[in-house]
Structure formats: C-alpha cells, structure tokens
C-alpha cells in the first residue's frame, strides 16, 4: 500500500483486507464447497421440475415448449458440426499440406 495514498484510501484498503481475508478463507472452506454443490443441485432440480410442469401444460395445448426448441437446436448443432468435420476432411484431401505427424 503506497505511503502517499490519502488517509481515506488507506482506511478503505485496510478495511477491504480486514473483511476480504476472512471471506477469501471462507470460500476455500469445505462448508462453502458443500453449499455451492448443494445449491447447484437444488437449482437444477427446481428448474427441471418447473420445466417439466410447463412442458406438460404446453403439450396439452399442442404447443412446443422451450425444451423442444432447445433439443431441436442441439440436433441442428450436432448436424452442423458433423457437416463441418466432413467439409474439413474433404478440404484436407484436396490440399494436403506439409504438417507434423503425430508421435
């Protein structure tokens, strides 16, 4: 901390360290890890349940749900990835360049 800092800044920086150090220790603790992993699981369960309910409601009305669109986007992305790989392989056959081989 530079000595020529004004008093207010030195106080803020000291205060930040006084509060920050215990927080940084806390976020490295087992308790924090447990809380994070449990929160993540609970959030996924809640979101999954809510999505399931809304999906059933929308399907009753013969409407697509967000998860249908998502799954369609994933399928399209998979197909596009496969096309890209094929296109890469074809261009490799057309223009074999000097490259290192695997060891």
């Amino acid at each position: 901390m530079p000595a020529n800092n004004p008093l207010w800044l030195r106080v803020v920086l000291r205060l930040e360290r006084a509060i920050g150090e215990p927080i940084e220790s806390a976020v490295r603790s087992d308790t924090y890890f447990d809380v994070v992993s449990k929160t993540t699981r609970v959030r996924r369960t809640v979101v999954g349940t809510a999505e399931g309910v809304s999906r059933r409601c929308l399907h009753l009305l013969n409407l697509p749900a967000g998860s249908d669109i998502r799954s369609m986007r994933q399928q399209l992305a998979r197909m596009e990835r496969r096309l890209n790989r094929l296109s890469d392989e074809v261009s490799e056959l057309d223009e074999p360049g000097p490259r290192s081989g695997v060891r």
Binding site: N4, P6, E16, G20, F33, R81, D88
Partner: protein, 366 residues
C-alpha cells in the same frame, strides 16, 4: 492536521497545491461522468494484424508494424478461457507490440468465442487438428521451418502437448507462461471439481459448453472484495486519464470470458484435474501416449510469483517434466497472472525478459 501537508509550506507552495487539487477535481468530475456513461472506452487489441489462417472459430493472426529481424516466428497459443487481447491490451502497454517492436515476427492463435458448433471440440481437436494446421501456415508465410511456441495459461498445456506429441514439430523454443501442470495446486475453484463435489456436466449448459458467466464467477470468488479496493483506487486516481484508461481496459478484459467447449472441459476435469495426469509426464491423446519429455528444443517455464489463478506451485513441475533437462530454464516474474500482458511489472520485467530470452534463442539478423 493533514499529515500530507508539511507545516513549513510557503504561501506559493500552498497556492500551487490548491490549484493542483482544483484541477484534479475538475478532471475527476469529467472522467467520472465519462466512466459512468461508458463513453471514451479504450480501444483494445489494436496492434495492426492480418488473419493468415482460419478454421472454425480459430484464427491465426500475424502482427504488423515491426521490422522482422529475428527468426523463427513466435506463435502465441492463447488460453481457452479468456480473450487473447490481454496480450495486446493497449498501445504502449502490449506484450505483442513490445515483441514486434523488438524485431520479432509475432503470431497469435486465437480460439474465438465458442458456441454450440464447438461443443464437441476436445483436446485432440486443439492439439492434433488446429495447432498443426495453424503452425504449418505460420511456417509457410514466415519462410522458417522452426517456430518459437509460446503458450499462455491453458494455451501452454496445448502447446506442450503439441510439441511433445508431434514428429517434426520443429519447435525450437517452447515458452510456457503460467501453465498449470500440477492441478492439485490450483486452488479453490478447481478443488470443487477435483473432489467430485461438482460434476462437469452440472456446469455445461444447453449449448454444450461451460458458459462464460460460470467461469467469471469462479474467478470472481477467488477474491470477492477486491473490487471495492479497485474502485476506491480508481476514485483517487480518477483525474489521471492514463490510469482510468488502464483501469477500464483491465476491467473489460476481466469480465470478458468466453465459453469453454464442453468436450474439452470434461477431459480437462477427468484427466488433468481428477487424475492430475500431467504430473506423471504422460497423457493419453488420440489413442497414443504423449510423453512431455519428448519435447525437443529449449523450454522456458515462466511463472508469476503472485499469481492466484495459476499459483507457482502448479507450474513448477514443468522443470522436471517437459523436454530435455539440460535445456530447461525457469523465469520467475514479480506480479500476478496478467503480468504476461499488462501492468507495471509487465513493462518493467516481463516484456523485456521474455523478449530478451526469445531473441537470445533466435537467429541473429542476417
């Protein structure tokens, strides 16, 4: 009494100090308004460059502007979790600009911003597909058969695996900048995954990638209160245009993470984090074992002593594992993880020492 004001100030000095404080207050007000409005943001990554190769989101850039006196070319392999402009942050504060100015022929392999189409990208895709092709192009345009390969953070892991896993890789110099090898030393963020409390699939979203927000939160939680200290320091220095510009540039970069491709993330967690496989000196890749000891050429293991993202303890085993023991060198730099790109220590220590080492291990100008 204000301890900063000596009691023996003459009336002239006092008037000068009052004038200075008034001027600074005006500048603070002006810069404060600009900061809040978000105008006058600094231009980032502006060293002139041309795209010389592209595949998917990956691009190889060649930087312009310098007199290319030394060979072989320096190819920087960037990490998969952050934006590459950290190494070319602002004019006058850019590693890339410094190196090109010193006469090096600098290339950057940038991975772009992954989306759904990149979810299947695994480590093999980076090491055995993108890298050989990008480097072949760098060799072609530079006219050199060899390269100096410099990997930053996870980019260093990719660079080391490439150099070790390819016959005729022709890597004269391998520079590993803050490259983690011992993932048991990687701290809290990685511990959650290592201990199995967090499953990699829990972090992967609908696009098949780990969202950038999740990565940002992980880095943020390493030191959640430092933002207060940073903002207070900004307030004190708000009159200083140069300081404000540097602050804005760093703040932009530190929030600007990119999604991590899901397939590579699963592999990273299973092999590098849970099995800590790099510490064995060998890693399976595309059905073969890549031995890190097979790296030919000189190896420079550069680490930052105050790095809390990749601590020195995670980097140190490079000195026992990568390449020929007689050709390994270690460079310890003051500063944190970003000292490889920006900051006072970067300009004073990192840029001159890295550039000097590369020049010492390059061909002299013909």
């Amino acid at each position: 009494m204000n301890p900063r004001v000596p009691s023996t100030l003459s009336p002239g000095d006092l008037l000068g100090r009052v004038n200075r404080d008034v001027e600074r207050s005006i500048l603070r007000a002006r810069n404060g308004i600009r900061y809040v409005r978000g105008t006058h943001r600094p231009a980032l990554g502006v060293t002139p460059k041309e795209v010389i190769w592209k595949s998917g989101k990956a691009e190889l850039w060649r930087y312009q502007g310098g007199d290319r006196r030394y060979g072989p070319p320096v190819v920087i392999v960037h990490s998969l979790v952050s934006r590459s402009y950290i190494l070319d942050l602002r004019p006058g504060n850019s590693t890339v600009e410094y190196m090109t100015g010193a006469g090096l022929d600098v290339f950057m392999l940038d991975w772009g911003v992954p989306d759904e189409l990149d979810a299947d990208n695994d480590l093999e895709r980076y090491v055995d597909w993108y890298l050989p092709r990008a480097l072949a192009e760098a060799r072609r345009v530079s006219g050199h058969q060899e390269v100096t390969l410099a990997g930053y953070c996870l980019g260093g892991v990719l660079a080391a695996l490439y150099a070790a896993g390819h016959e005729g890789a022709n890597v004269r110099n391998l520079i590993l900048m803050a490259t983690p090898v011992d993932f048991s030393e990687m701290g809290a963020m990685v511990a959650l995954l290592r201990e199995g409390r967090l499953d990699p699939d829990q972090m992967i979203d609908d696009t098949g990638n780990v969202p950038a927000d999740a990565l940002y939160s992980g880095f943020y939680m390493l030191a959640p209160t430092t933002e207060v200290a940073q903002k207070a320091t900004l307030l004190e220095n708000l009159w200083n245009d140069e300081f404000v510009e540097g602050f804005q540039a760093m703040a932009t970069w530190s929030r600007d993470h990119v999604p991590f491709p899901g397939a590579a993330f699963r592999q990273l967690v299973e092999l590098l984090v849970r099995q800590n496989i790099l510490t064995t000196g060998s890693m399976p890749l595309s059905g073969r074992q890549v031995e890190l000891g097979n790296v030919q050429g000189n190896v420079l293991n550069a680490m930052a002593e105050r790095d809390n993202v990749v601590p020195p303890a995670a980097v140190e085993p490079v000195m026992q594992l990568v390449g020929d023991p007689t050709r390994r060198e270690e460079l310890r730099l003051p500063g944190g993880h970003v000292t490889f790109g920006t900051g006072r220590t970067a300009f004073k220590h990192t840029m001159p020492q890295l550039t000097g080492w590369i020049i010492d291990h390059s061909d002299p100008p013909s």
